[in-house]
Subunit: 214 residues, 2 copies
């Protein structure tokens, strides 16, 4: 397809597509003559993904380029390819290890992983941004005076593990390794707002069931 059709089908303006091409977020089309290039379905798919990361995920262009570099890196195995792309997404800053609440949070998160038997997640503790985000979130609860323990997190973690099984089952329906890595990124950018919305809607439903609409 020509640039005009790519724009039409993606809903992205031709000027923005040209900008993405120059910024290296989209591979160049096949040049058919000096002024015209031809694009295919893979361009369209990639363009939609880039658009979602920028518009829905709010990522800067340099970050999108970094994430895409990992998605496209065929030298990596599946766990690392999906992980590297996710790890390039924005994360919370390093917690202050001298803070008493951070130390308590580390202890509770360690106990939680033991109780869950998540040996693989244990092995990633020092490098996983998700682990760091969890420690920061737990420390914030404890700083507010809530006794947020491994015991209290356990049922939430079990629910999230069931969600992760659904996530990976969906990833496995994708035909190629590149598409599997793409879907993992899309899941992080788009599924998190969806789960958040579902949880709030479920709270409204459950609250109205328990207390009515006074």
């Amino acid at each position: 397809m020509r640039l005009a059709e790519l724009s039409e089908r993606s809903g992205v303006s031709t000027a923005t597509i040209k900008y993405y091409l120059r910024a290296g977020l989209l591979a160049a089309g096949r040049q058919v003559n000096t002024t015209t290039a031809e694009y295919d379905e893979e361009h369209l798919r990639r363009l939609r993904l880039v658009r979602a990361m920028i518009q829905v995920g709010g990522l800067p262009v340099a970050k999108v380029r970094e994430v895409m570099g990992h998605v496209d890196d065929e030298s990596l195995g599946r766990t690392m390819r999906m992980g590297a792309a996710l790890w390039a997404l924005p994360h919370v800053p390093e917690p202050d290890e001298d803070d008493e609440y951070v130390r308590a949070a580390h202890r509770e998160v360690g106990e939680l992983l033991d109780k869950l038997g998540w040996g693989n997640a244990q092995a990633l503790v020092t490098i996983s941004p998700a682990h760091r985000s969890l420690v920061v979130a737990v420390a914030a609860f404890r700083r507010l005076g809530y006794d947020w323990t491994s015991e209290r997190m356990l049922p939430y973690a079990e629910l999230m593990h069931r969600a992760a099984v659904l996530d990976l089952d969906f990833v496995e329906t994708q035909p190629s390794e590149a598409e599997k890595a793409e879907v993992a990124v899309i899941g992080a950018v788009l599924a998190e707002p969806m789960l958040q919305a579902l949880r709030r809607l479920a709270q409204e439903e459950e609250s109205a069931r328990r207390y009515g609409f006074e």
Copy 2:
């Protein structure tokens, strides 16, 4: 306690506490003489909550004041008091109802609520920001070419309902209506990053179980 102790116990500087007092985010202390005021445990609790909303939740001061106004509104019943505080949190903008993906998303979300039997959530459809956020998230998936149907959302929604039951069970452990409303807000601001972190950690664990660390 004096201002200095309030600062010490909350980890918030005296200058920032004075700013929150002027901005109406914190009730004035009991004046013991012309230069000294006395603060109690409720000031400390409120100060920590305000701090979490601003620092962890990234909310502007005007928004925090609005949320707190609902938390403190004793004329509201419990569902409305928690709801009004949550609804004052930032939400996605209104979706474009002329967009074909938004219309399809509305249809799928409607079918989902039917399948779940969430009659109360159905009644809130036109006013709930969570419903709007869900439609926007589903439309974004469909725009990327993923056939994101009510069928596919159903198991996620059931998991989130179980999470909401845990959330409300925790809310019910709080002694007063004001504290119940506060905890609902804290849950929205702090528990969402925690669930997100748990889900990513669960994905890493599950991915390593299935594919190893290649």
